[in-house]
């Protein structure tokens, strides 16, 4: 039952008709794209809070939004609102709301130290600590604080404001969350649950404690605190950890038929998705890379293409010693030596690791890569790692006609999600 609206497996072809992005490089897709293709870094010294004495004092924080509160939920919502608005406007949905559900990759939110200090300052009753905070909360109802730390709140607010359909979904697969949000939209459309899906991811969780937690896991680079733009060095021999960052992206997915019928411009095609969970370790991948290899292979198979059709790989490329080596080994296992001639770059060299939002932001940049015929570089590539002989599009963007992109996302907890995007419907 193949038709011009169905793919090689008879499923509805899914296209992207709207996108929005915010990162430390700026607000909106155009500002981001211009900076990204100019090889600019958004990483800087942290000004939001004091970093005296910390081993990592840099991040890709987003400091130019105007959140209701400087906190993870406040910043995450402000960015998600901005990218959703941009994506929906681009897709051409207006006053009648959005004709499908919301899938939101939600950042970790909880009470922060500012809230704890606020609570204990409002009461003198009970022992200092949780007893005092519980008393304080009982004495003074805190509706705003309550609402912000509910894990569903950001999605609920977006759903209400943009009038998406049904119960919005908040999800987390750690650093694969952005890709998982897209995957949920893809699956819902393929099931026939909906003809359109709004997929949003946002993470504004650079707090002192958040930074320290990642530091304690030895995940962050401690080099280049004085030259922050040099700190994220994916695939380089001297890479030493990732840079924590903030950002958001939104993508409007719909069936080709739905987009065609309403005369929407098609920005790109979602061809396939692959996933495989890893049971090896909470923070590390299986040494043999088997789950990642399975996820990449599954995405390519699902897309109905071969490795020869992949013209560019948008890497997970976190700049940790382990991830980048594992990602290369897994790609090599799937692509063979063809991977050595396939351009691959890491947007994280410029925007850092946007955690929950990464997979979605990198999806937006992947579509732009195909639309503009320009591959963003991997910056700070000065000392190649001989064990990772890849064409990382070093330091300067490159003109190239790319028909299909593979985008990888991996997260703590054994999460691996890979996506294949295409430029043209056919």
């Amino acid at each position: 039952m193949s038709s011009k609206f169905t793919d090689h497996k008879g499923r509805p072809i899914i296209v992207v008709t709207g996108m929005g992005a915010v990162s430390s490089l700026g607000r909106g897709i155009e500002d981001n794209w211009n900076a990204l293709t100019a090889g600019q870094s958004g990483i800087h010294q942290i000004k939001r809070f004091s970093t005296d004495g910390l081993s990592t004092r840099i991040a890709g924080t987003v400091d130019f939004m105007e959140p209701e509160e400087i906190s993870a939920p406040g910043i995450s919502y402000a960015m998600a609102d901005a990218t959703t608005e941009e994506a929906i406007a681009m897709a051409g949905f207006g006053k009648d709301g959005f004709p499908g559900p919301l899938f939101f990759a939600a950042p970790p939110v909880e009470l922060e130290w500012q809230h704890r200090f606020d609570l204990i300052s409002r009461s003198n009753n009970g022992e200092m600590g949780y007893e005092r905070m519980l008393n304080s909360a009982q004495e003074h109802k805190q509706d705003d604080m309550h609402s912000r730390i509910q894990l569903g709140t950001i999605a609920f607010r977006l759903a209400e404001k943009y009038e998406t359909r049904g119960l919005p979904i908040s999800l987390s697969t750690a650093c694969a969350s952005g890709a998982t949000a897209l995957q949920q939209g893809i699956e819902a459309i393929r099931r026939g649950d909906t003809e359109a899906a709004l997929c949003v991811a946002s993470d504004g969780s650079v707090t002192a404690e958040g930074l320290i937690r990642f530091s304690l896991l030895s995940a962050l680079t401690t080099a280049n605190n004085d030259a922050p733009e040099k700190a994220s060095r994916p695939f380089s021999k001297d890479r030493s950890g990732f840079v924590m960052s903030e950002g958001s992206a939104a993508l409007v997915l719909e069936t080709l038929e739905h987009a065609t019928n309403r005369g929407a411009e098609v920005l790109g095609v979602i061809r396939g998705v692959g996933e495989k969970a890893d049971s090896f370790h909470r923070t590390r991948s299986s040494p043999d890379g088997a789950p990642v290899i399975t996820a990449i292979s599954a995405a390519i198979e699902d897309a109905g293409v071969t490795v020869d059709d992949i013209g560019y790989v948008n890497a997970h490329g976190t700049s940790t010693p382990e991830n980048d080596r594992m990602e290369y080994n897994s790609l090599h296992a799937v692509f063979g030596d063809k991977i050595h001639e396939t351009p691959i770059s890491s947007n994280k060299s410029m925007i850092g690791h946007t955690l929950t939002a990464g997979g979605a932001i990198e999806a937006v940049f992947s579509f732009k890569t195909m639309m503009e015929g320009l591959i963003p570089p991997t910056i700070n590539y000065e000392t190649p790692d001989p064990d990772i002989p890849l064409d990382v599009v070093p330091n300067e963007s490159r003109e190239a006609s790319v028909s299909n992109v593979l985008s990888n996302s991996f997260g703590f907890g054994g999460q691996n999600a890979c996506l294949v995007f295409g430029r043209e419907v056919a």
Partner: protein, 397 residues
Amino acid sequence: MSSNNNKEVWITGIGLVSCYGEGAAHHWEVLGGKTAPEPIVDLETVSPYGVHPLPEMDWSLQIPRRGDQRQMENWQRLGTYAAGLALDDAGMKDDADLISTMDLVVAAGGGERDVETDEAIMRDAVASNDREALLLERLPSDLRPTLFLAQLSNLLAGNISIVHKVTGSSRTYMGEETAGVTVIQNAVSRIASGQSSHMLVGGSYNADRPDALLPHVLGHYLYSGGAEGVHERQSNGGGMRMGSVGTFLVLEEAEHARKRGAKPYARLSGVSSDLGSREGEKGISRLEVMFEKLGGRPDAVISGATGVAQATAYEYSYLAEKLGTETPVRAFQTLVGQPLEATFPTGVALAALALKNDGFYAPFETSEVAASNPASSILVTSVGHVCGEGLALVEKA
């Protein structure tokens, strides 16, 4: 597309831990008798808020490696444990082929904090004139590195993958009670449409902690009286009482289960959900649309009512109007407490248990009407204490 969405979804395994103990059969024994048990409420741990506590647990029974146990906090141990029970119950535990292709969907919250460390820092902060500097000095040395992993929402799923080797796929949903609705709805949709053949779905919540209760006190949602049930609390302003519960279900495409000789507890024949304003009649109107989507006539209800006044009021007025006051409704939070993300999976599990055992539950408090016949079709509800609604229809298979 609807022709692709008609595969039958069976519940073939239940893993349940609550204040009454563990195991599906045990819960039917305790809750399914001629009279309901007394609520087990700990009024001391986080006074004045009662909680339904964790029972005595030997984690090693489902989490054999001490190293794995050490890497988790109790909400993760509870969920990982319940997941193991569900796999055992479904007869899948030792089947590497089934486990490694099984899809995992978890409803999770934000994890637990190190209460002692938080309190030590707060005590010193009061005496300090530079709290920011104090935090930067203390957090790097006082926070346990592994604690972070006990706080990441998706690390319950991660631990289930590590301990039980469930690795087909792994997704975690959040959003308080709606997370539990989403996991069940997502699993049913995927199995019904052929996207998955067998899934492990559920969630867990650990209530015995001040850091878990604090968010709800901020919004004044907790009940601070005694051990009163969901209905009895209404005359006292309402409110919810949190409960430590871990619930996981094995959901399976019927043909897949038949081929391996597995018997169903029940059939999950439909799920619907929504979100919106509760002003005036809006909440009731939404429940009506959701109910009609299910397309069935339940003869009993397992309600996830929390006791929070507004949410409980419109749910019950809808149920009475739609099903009549003689249809037995059981608000299970009266007995096991409010397990937040695990609410909806727990309701589905209790419904499935009753159907398998050809019975229903005796009233959980005096205002509930007795059942005159065994149930054959049970409506499961979850009206979130703040927002969101879910309904499921669980029927005899």
